[in-house]
């Protein structure tokens, strides 16, 4: 049996509300199928199955809000007997009904960790990884394992306690979605600013060749098939990541973990305020047309509030393109646990030296915000130079 749990759909997410089940007990599910709709502080997200099987039982009712990690449903894997057909287990378990349960029962608030005998925090690798994913500060967690060792259930308990809302004063107004989105962004960005030692680099890119090629290309296309210049920027970043893979990574368990696939997250401004940064999956392998199609679909769904769980949990780097708003350079904050964010500014006509001659050129500032724990400035500068080089040959993107 596989446990289908409330997913973590961003570094800032502590709990989610089950809006509706898309599949019902007895339904076949396949990896990638949308099983449920979950509401976060930012949007309603379509949550996908991660295994093939049959939805055996749902454990949470629509309308319930539960902490990240809570078991929402049981999926019977292929070849497994149904729960009713399973042989009886030990007496203590045989009669116990399966019920929705948060990652652990938060019986008491977290207390300060006991000082370990050998120095440093005693914590299992699994628990450390989970703490990083759930945004739990392990210094605030008491370990229940041998010798005070922090275990997975301790982290789950701390996460559940974090997700539990404080009792509201009778006169307090319920925050609206926009307020909750701001709070979610605030939590993620505060964590980023607090935990990540950022460094910033920038470079100026001559966009003449890119724009000339794009204008020529779009002349030959019907309106519906035209490309935006942002697509070339996205593809250039994705291809540059293949050459500088240190930036296609996340920081967990006090170390950098390189990600094998490139899933570029695109910051998308939502109407009415706030933003999301869902992934364009396998960005480096897609054609420009494929990227344009997927980007248009992603923007539309982000603004309609119908993103999928994998799109929010998979980004390996984020791009923010504020050039259209007139900003010339973006010095951003990294979205944890990612280790880099790329910013693009406005394309402006400026004097530029070309082959010893000063001429007017469309110039764009590309910036990199990078995590100094994961890499050094030299590799960051190689990355920006690679983006520049790739944009000078747009026909090869």
């Amino acid at each position: 049996m596989a446990e289908f749990r409330m997913p973590i759909l961003g570094a800032d997410m502590k709990a989610g509300k089950l809006v509706a089940w898309r599949k019902h007990p007895g339904d076949e599910v396949h990896r990638g199928d949308i099983i449920a709709d979950v509401e976060t502080d930012k949007a309603v997200i379509e949550v996908e199955a991660f295994v093939d099987g049959v939805l055996e039982r749902t454990l949470v009712e629509p309308g319930e809000t539960v902490p990240v990690g809570t078991i929402l449903a049981i999926i019977r894997l292929e070849g497994e007997p149904a729960l009713a057909e399973m042989p009886a287990g030990p007496p203590a378990e045989a009669g116990a009904p399966i019920v929705a349960r948060p990652p652990a029962v938060p019986l008491q608030p977290p207390v300060r960790l006991r000082v370990p005998e050998a120095g440093g925090v005693r914590i299992s690798p699994l628990a450390r990884n989970l703490a990083a994913r759930l945004g739990v500060d392990i210094a605030t967690v008491t370990g229940s394992g041998p010798g005070g060792r922090i275990q997975q259930r301790d982290i789950e308990q701390a996460a559940a306690a974090m997700a539990r809302p404080a009792p509201a004063a009778p006169s307090e107004e319920v925050p609206d979605r926009q307020m909750r989105m701001r709070q979610a962004i605030a939590a993620a960005m505060a964590r980023s600013h607090r935990d990540i030692p950022h460094f910033h680099l920038f470079t100026t890119i001559d966009m003449s060749r890119t724009l000339t090629w794009l204008a020529s290309e779009n002349e030959t296309r019907s309106v519906a098939d035209r490309l935006l210049y942002a697509i070339l920027l996205i593809k250039a970043v994705a291809c540059a990541l293949r050459e500088v893979p240190e930036l296609n990574a996340i920081w967990v368990e006090d170390k950098v973990v390189l990600k094998p696939d490139v899933h570029v997250g695109m910051a998308i401004v939502l109407r009415g305020g706030g933003l999301v940064a869902p992934a364009l999956h396998h960005t480096d392998r897609q054609s420009l047309d494929g990227l344009m199609h997927d980007f248009r679909d992603l923007v539309q769904r982000a603004r309609a509030g119908s993103l999928r769980s994998s799109e929010l949990s998979d980004p390996t780097i984020t791009i923010t393109n504020l050039g259209e708003q007139g900003v010339e350079a973006v010095f951003g904050l990294i979205y944890p646990p990612q280790v880099a964010l790329v910013g693009f500014g406005k394309i402006v006509e400026r004097p530029w030296s070309v082959d010893g001659q000063i001429m007017s050129r469309p110039l764009m500032t590309a910036t990199l915000a990078a995590d100094h724990r994961a890499l050094d400035g030299f590799r960051g500068s190689v990355f920006l130079a690679t983006i520049d080089r790739l944009l000078q040959e747009p026909d090869k993107l």
Partner: protein, 90 residues
Amino acid sequence: MTDEEIRSTVLRLLSDIAPEADLASIEPNVNIRDQLDIDSMDFLNFVIAVDKELHVDIPERDYPKLATLDACMVYLSERLKAAGRARPTD
């Protein structure tokens, strides 16, 4: 198609792009993108919608001619007139 019909079509297509906007208060001579918070993806979707509804294929080099509502009206009216599909308002 009359100018009034062109105008109402343009406003309807813009409302599809920016549903939260109050189009009644749109300033005809102020940049549409700035007023309605429209980005390049939104604008491309608007151009695609114009092509579908009015059968006017707007080349990319003409995008600056659609900066304001009044400019849109002038541009589309001329294109439709050239195609023999515009007529004066009754």
